[in-house]
Amino acid sequence: MSEIKKARDDWNREVNNFKERSYRFETVSGEPVDILYTPEEIKHLDYLRDLGFPGKYPFTRGVYVNMYRGKLWTMRQFSGFGTPEDTNRRYKYLLEHGQTGLSVAFDFPTLYGRDSDDPFSAGEVGRCGVAVDTLRDMEIIFDGIPLESISTSMTINPPAAMLLAMYIAVGEKQGVPSERLTGTIQNDMLKEYQAQKTWIYPPEPSMRIITDILSYCSERVPKWNTISISGYHIREAGATAVQELAFTLANGFTYVDYGIKAGIPVDKFAPRLSFFFNSHLDFFEEIAKYRAARRIWAREMRNRYGAKDPRSWLMRFHTQTAGCTLTAQQPENNIVRVAFQALAAVLGGTQSLHTNSMDETYALPTEKAVKIALRTQQLLAHETGVANTIDPLGGSYYVEALTNRLEEQAYKYFERIDSLGGVIPAIETGFFQREIAESAYRYQRDVEKRQKIVVGVNDFIEEEEPKIELLKIRPEVERHQIERLNEVRKERNNQKVKESLRELRRAAHNGANLMPRILDAVRAYATLGEMCGVLKEEFGEYEEPIIF
């Protein structure tokens, strides 16, 4: 090893005689990148301690023993738009074209727990996702899709309990008991306060709802992923890779803290926690990020939280390619960006993947665009050979050094967050929001100064307007949705709705688990707005510190 060091020193002296391009060599997040990595840079790496074997602690090389040789990642395109009928049709289309899991995008009113006829919903119904007001809508969305054999991910946060309850109720109608349902609710409120900004209640009651879900599902919906701890939105809001890694893990630890505080044994809920990361532009930084994330989570769950079940140690995660890296200019370039990002996610060992469509900077994707995105995953899986062996980059001097570096940087953030009193106090004083806003602004300035090149935006620019076909949301969606809502209100047993909402209020007040009451209200076709309204009255509304 000392020979390599000597040779490296000699080479370093020589390389100084060569001129480099005028460019700041660093990752897209600003981590410095050396010109060369050799065994010297990872001389402290201990294979068995730091990498080990797939499916074994510390899981750096992958969470399952045989990984993609056993089962490919799930190809799961996030989608949903217009009416429940539109969305049902799109799902059937995707399943026909080889997609292997569903992922529901809800419209803004649904995400905020508001009904389609709420004044706040005007103009937003069915636009960025599908509108759901009552169980009736969920029945339509999953019409003809057997919940027994498909796993479904739902990106939903403040009203996560209600949507999960609706899914359970659809299962009941299909004759599938909740014990056999598989899927995920996002249900990650901490990143909402930090980055994505979809909230209703203040942090503490939000955490109470989440622990109620953890507790309920550990008994009744044991195969469900109860929280998808999401770095995706943190990154989209402008965070660096290190911030995404550190904040997401810190949030994860906070949920574990609250679960334990609520009296649920850690090994009872931790195996059902899953993660959701971004796959951004910097190819190797992303791969290193996933590997570092697995190693940190395993270590902390085992050592800090004393989890005994190896399933509590292993970090399973979904990945979505970075929407914020797509450009409106020259939209076909986005096909290429997404291809590289998807490859990074797979080389990083993701369990499921959404590949963005080329037209998503403009609108929800057309069928053609979403198909190309799906094909990208199929090409990766079946033509490139990258799923033949596990963690193919393991051992790479650069990737291992970068994995180590991201891990160290993440621990520095953990210390800062601890010193602020933990994640929730840090949210309340705007710490995360400020860190993210500063990174976003720094990136934008780098782009404007052309330290960072964005093809088609600040270099290789073309005058011509791109001509691509876009998906139009029919303007009558809002009206149709409100009509159906009114019908449901007329047809349901309103007395039963009232009672169930009264029970919900009582539980909110006296601390009983909310889930059974929500499920009852859902079964009675209470609207999302009615249920969230009750809780809002009990829990109050959140106001964020304004920072830019």
């Binding site: 937003e124 636009r127 600040n458």
Partner: protein, 131 residues
């Protein structure tokens, strides 16, 4: 014109993607303007009220949810009703070209597409507010 240019950066509607709004707000601040950022989830009424109260020269609306054809006309109408038609309305986000043109015909002064350099926005505001 005396004093600093005053700009209200506003996020109407339900969409919580405030990255663009914040980056633009920071850039305008660094370019020497007085920037008031409304925070999220503002109704058109709240935005117009804040604009009048803060006596701004210009409102910049950031919108990515697709509700632009509902929000912008509403703001323009409210400004007229409150006698504040002199306040310039502009904005940016994911807005199809044809909608941009329609909105500009309705009285939105200028809309910026994704990828616009903040320097271009700064320049445009300085020029537009000066005259």
């Amino acid at each position: 014109m005396e004093g600093k240019i005053r700009v209200l950066v506003a996020k109407p509607g339900l969409d919580g993607h405030d990255r663009g709004a914040k980056v633009v707000a920071a850039a305008l601040r660094d370019a020497g303007m007085e920037v008031i950022y409304t925070g999220l989830h503002q109704t058109p009424e709240q935005i117009v009220e804040a604009a009048i109260q803060e006596d701004v020269d210009l409102i910049g609306i950031s919108i990515l949810s697709g509700a632009h054809m509902t929000i912008f006309p509403r703001i323009l109408k409210l400004l007229q009703e409150k006698g504040a038609g002199h306040i310039i309305v502009s904005g940016g986000g994911i807005i199809p070209k044809e909608d941009m043109e329609k909105l500009e015909r309705l009285g939105v002064k200028k809309l910026f597409g994704p990828g616009t350099p903040t320097t271009e926005i700064v320049e445009w505001i300085k020029e537009t507010v000066k005259r």
